[in-house]
């Protein structure tokens, strides 16, 4: 990878990014004002690749706008109608259900705010969709609508969300954020809730285990500073709750909206109504990727950006392209092929054209299908970094790296969609017939610091208690189960944790792994006094290392590819091992570790599958087979 800057002002920012440092508002302004959009894009692409590798996500989704009747009158909106106006419409729950097909994985519901709907009607929409299409995650109602329900039906925001959640709501859309400054709010949408209201609704949702998206409407009267203030407010909220799944910059669509773009705006003093420029679209995507260091995904919403710009945006920091949206708009007499299939094929093409891996996801960004050859799974935790350090080599071998939580990696491998990966031990056991073991692993010597049980009680006191367990891997969960049953002889009630949510107060203990565990091992986890390192528990008991993950490839992989893969892994590991503190530095920094702590952590692993490790694998398997109760 080459890197040259036409705009030298970008160099200090690039240094910050390489060290995993957070960017300031001033940095953001330099980025927005640069003419060197190639360098800007490359920086954003670098950060995107650190987070998602080559993956670009999409979802088979259906957008439902249940009504356009609205009591508000926002200047930028040409969707809303007043009740009784000729184009006004209101859908019944039955109408809505008729729009959903069984292949849909996410239903996105937003609409106007009609004066006379009953609360039950909103709940009914969510409930019926959830009942009739359990495979489809319901993503419903923007913060503005939630606030409207709260005021109209005299329920607290928390109560509104709780009732929706028990009706089947899984996530919330991010619409209604617009631009978080009072100046813009007063001018364009004085009736809307503003930054405080928006963030309050979202943070409340996060605490209840409802992850949400967040948005920004740009390209109207806002200044560049106002865009950055907006992003920084979202970044601060995310620091608190961690519940934002993705950020979606939405380009203002001129039309019959009553807004003309005025002087002093970021869009540059246009006197007439105009669409944002492609350069502004790409810059906004890239800058948001760089500013929002704590939000996992940036979405290029293709319906608004156009397919062409969205495809280019996938190299400017975006790793999500939304989905089929129910816009089966591709006019094509393709006989028996369904419109959904066409829309899906088109999206896959847009992503492949950009040189990325199309990954079909659910509402929580769990990968469901991967549509590409030569894909290698990567555990997205600090401890796997030594294996993937040598990016030059992996590109040369033509392998594409897909960061994916261990359990999902196992599922994708089962579907035959991965060539190789660093597999969670349980997945390797399960797929031993089709996978070939390679001589590398992640094994602990004595303690691990990243597979931790945070508990309110000692081991004995956990009997009959509720334990939140990570959704990300099976191995740690089985290790816990072996320890509980065979070592401590206690029984617990396990419950899976929602991804992206970190309020654990309802549990008596939680099992966390990876970066999340590592972070809390250092700073503690509020309310959980006792901390158990599962690898240490195992070591004290068995006097053996514990193997959490092993490298394996498909048995069907050709000899030549296998050799390329082995060379990639071994060169990367050799280069990394002499420099563990440095290669892990920026990743470690993100979870709050110093260079020495990172080094010490990484040195605590054995990356080569030796005799002791093989013995440990066998011993663990034996214990699992003897076990009566499976979690």
């Amino acid at each position: 990878m080459t890197f040259s800057f036409r705009d030298k002002q970008l160099i200090p920012i690039w240094r910050k990014l390489q060290h995993g440092e957070r960017l300031s508002l001033e940095d953001g302004l330099v980025l927005f004002k640069t003419n060197d959009i190639i360098a800007l894009g490359k920086m954003a692409n670098f950060v995107q690749q650190q987070k998602s590798g080559y993956a670009v996500y999409f979802v088979l989704n259906q957008k439902i706008e249940h009504t356009n009747v609205c009591v508000l009158s926002c200047k930028f909106c040409d969707f809303a109608k007043k009740k009784g106006e000729p184009d006004a419409y209101e859908m019944t729950t039955e109408n809505i259900l008729a729009h959903i097909t069984p292949e849909i994985r996410e239903v996105h519901i937003t609409g106007g705010m009609p004066p006379d709907w009953k609360w039950e009607r909103y709940l009914d929409i969510v409930r019926k969709i959830h009942e009739k299409f359990p495979e489809a995650d319901v993503k419903a109602y923007t913060a503005v609508e939630i606030d409207f329900f709260h005021k109209k039906f005299k329920l607290s925001i928390e109560e509104v969300l709780k009732q929706l959640q028990s009706a089947g709501l899984r996530t919330m859309p991010g619409g209604g954020a617009e631009i978080f400054t009072e100046r813009v709010r007063k001018l364009l949408f004085p009736q809307k809730i503003g930054a405080k209201g928006y963030l309050e609704v979202h943070k409340t949702a996060h605490k209840l285990g409802i992850p949400t998206n967040c948005t920004m409407l740009y390209g109207h009267i806002e200044t560049l500073e106002e865009r950055l203030i907006h992003m920084i407010k979202l970044r601060e909220a995310q620091d608190e709750t961690g519940g934002f799944l993705s950020f979606i910059p939405l380009a203002f669509q001129p039309g019959d909206t009553g807004i003309s773009v005025g002087d002093g705006s970021a869009s540059g003093g246009k006197s007439h109504r105009q669409f944002t420029s492609a350069i502004d679209d790409l810059k906004t995507i890239a800058v948001s990727r760089l500013m929002l260091d704590n939000i996992s995904h940036i979405k290029a919403y293709w319906v608004m950006l156009t397919e062409e710009v969205a495809s280019v945006a996938l190299n400017f920091g975006a790793d999500d392209i939304d989905g089929t949206v129910g816009q089966e708009r591709i006019a094509h007499d393709a006989g028996a092929v369904s419109p959904m299939k066409l829309a899906k094929d088109q999206i896959i093409k847009i992503i492949k054209d950009a040189g990325k891996i199309p990954v079909e996801r659910d509402a929580f960004y769990n990968p469901l299908n991967v549509y590409s050859e030569n894909v290698i799974g990567k555990i997205p935790y600090l401890n796997s970094v030594p294996f993937y350090h040598n990016r030059e080599k992996s590109a040369a071998g033509g392998f594409k790296i897909l960061p994916v939580a261990p359990r999902r990696m196992g599922m994708l491998s089962k579907q035959g969609q991965l060539d190789a990966g660093l597999f969670s031990l349980m997945d390797y056991f399960e797929q031993e017939e089709s996978l070939e073991l390679l001589p590398w692993c992640i094994a602990t010597r004595d303690q691990v610091k990243s597979v931790m049980l945070f508990s309110k009680e000692g081991w004995a006191g956990l009997n009959g208690k509720k334990i939140g367990i990570t959704d990300e891997t099976a191995t740690s969960v089985q290790l816990l189960s072996v320890l509980l049953e065979n070592k401590y002889r206690v029984q617990v009630i396990p419950e899976r944790l929602h991804p992206g949510v970190n309020d654990y107060s309802m549990f008596d203990a939680v099992l966390l792994i990876g970066d999340e565990a590592l972070k809390h091992n250092k700073i503690g986890l509020n309310g959980f006094e006792l901390v158990f390192d599962l690898a240490k528990e195992w070591y004290d008991w068995q006097k053996l290392p514990f193997v959490f993950a092993v490298w394996a490839c498909r048995k069907a992989l050709s000899g030549e590819r296998r050799e390329e893969l082995k060379e990639m892994i071994s060169t990367s590991l050799e280069k990394s091992e002499v420099n563990l503190g440095i290669i892990g530095y920026s990743h470690g920094k993100k979870i709050g570790l110093t260079k020495n702590e990172t080094k010490e952590y990484l040195e605590g692993f054995n990356y080569r599958l030796g005799e002791q490790e093989r013995k440990a694998m066998m011993q663990f398997r034996k214990l699992l087979e003897q076990k009566e109760i499976k979690i």
Binding site: M1, T2, F3, S4, R6, K33, N35, I37, I38, A39, G41, K42, N45, L224, A266, G268, G269, K270, Q274, S277, A278, I279, D280, D281, L282, T306, E307, E308, V309, S311, V312, N315, F316, H332, K349, I350, D353, A354, G355
Partner: protein, 364 residues
């Protein structure tokens, strides 16, 4: 050679060969392509400026006997919708365009065998005399070959007579992909690659300036694209007669080729090919972005991938319109599009002389 070594070669200004070009096209990631193309773009044209021309693309006839399967524009003689305009009608057309600020008329036909050679000479002469505000940028290579066939003059004689009538530049359309294997499939009557190259060679010898084009996104391979760039680079080495290179992607609407190639080539592919041509064609002064065929937004992005020209404002356009691909703009919009992309717009003439610099308004 390793990719990184090729990249280093390009950076120090060394010419790359076919193999190296192919390696870049197939292996370089999009933004690395952009970075590399910009190195060369700013070396050749260090100013943060982008040129454009106020032009029009009328057609004097849609009758054509070449039957290219990528074309939705042509009609056979006697077919419904066929037309051929008289010289008078064309002059009126040019006058209207000139009154609207047009400085370049890019005129092309069909290849209508019924038109006498004098028609073409008269068209050139009268344009120069009666509409001096516009520069005639007339007749593709196919039409010139057609004139030669219909008149018994050699290509050289046809070009000499048009020169004497006052024609000085010729558009570079009709190159499609300079691969006879592909040409046989998509335009078997249009002649070989050598025919196109030969007209260009003869024209450059006389002193004509022309553009060179490439239409990709149909049946060509990566190797064909490299070959295309290679042969026009070789020709350019001899007479330096090409002013600019203009790649664009095939638009399948309403064409027989639609059955085989139903979709547009992607914008990423366009930007890669644009950047590659900036890198490969080291003896070309300008690379043109095609807002018209790729869309305004991608046209803007193209200015960051090696292009230093935004093409024409296209007061009138019929060929793509027949493929249901309609894209319109105004001079004011082109200026705004270039400014929004971070460049100072410069209005030029057909020969890339500066006519007017639009200094950036106070913005941001």
């Amino acid at each position: 050679m390793k990719l990184l070594d090729i990249i280093e070669e390009v950076k120090i200004g060394k010419r790359i060969n076919r193999e190296e070009g192919l390696s870049l096209l197939q292996k370089v990631e999009l933004l690395d392509f952009g970075e590399l193309a910009n190195e060369i773009r700013y070396r050749k044209n260090p100013k943060q400026q982008v040129t454009f021309v106020v032009d029009t693309n009328p057609n004097y006839t849609n009758i054509c006997n070449i039957d290219c399967i990528f074309c939705a524009f042509y009609r056979h003689p006697g077919e419904a919708g066929e037309y051929t305009y008289s010289v008078d009608e064309m002059i009126r057309n040019f006058k209207t365009a000139a009154a609207n600020g047009v400085t370049t008329v890019l005129l092309q036909g069909g290849v209508n065998p019924a038109l006498p050679f004098d028609y073409y000479l008269e068209l050139v002469k009268r344009t120069i005399e009666e509409v001096p505000e516009v520069h005639p940028h007339f007749f593709s290579t196919s039409e010139i070959i057609g004139m030669s066939q219909a008149s018994e003059f050699t290509i050289q004689e046809v070009l000499r007579k048009l020169w004497d009538a006052g024609l000085r530049t010729i558009p570079g359309g009709g190159a499609e992909i300079l691969s006879d294997r592909v040409k046989k499939k998509i335009s078997h009557l249009k002649g070989t690659s050598d025919d196109w190259l030969n007209v260009m060679l003869e024209a450059h010898k006389i002193g004509y300036k022309t553009t060179a084009t490439m239409m990709y996104g149909h049946l060509e391979t990566d190797e064909d694209i490299i070959e295309h760039l290679e042969v026009i680079r070789q020709l350019q080495d001899e007479y330096h007669g090409f002013t600019a290179f203009i790649p664009w992607s095939f638009k399948p609407g309403n064409t027989p080729l639609h059955k085989i190639i139903p979709t547009y080539a992607s914008s990423t592919r366009y930007l890669q090919i644009l950047a590659l041509s900036r890198i490969y064609l080291d003896n070309f002064d300008h690379i043109q972005a095609s807002w018209f065929s790729e869309g305004k937004k991608i046209g803007q992005v193209a200015l960051h991938f090696g292009a230093d020209d935004f093409g024409g404002t296209l007061y009138e356009e019929n060929v793509h319109a027949e493929a249901d691909f309609v894209n319109k703009t105004t001079v004011a919009e082109v200026i705004q599009l270039i400014q929004d992309s971070g460049f100072t717009p410069v209005q030029r003439d057909t020969l890339y002389n500066t006519l007017k610099i639009f200094e950036k308004a106070e913005a941001m």
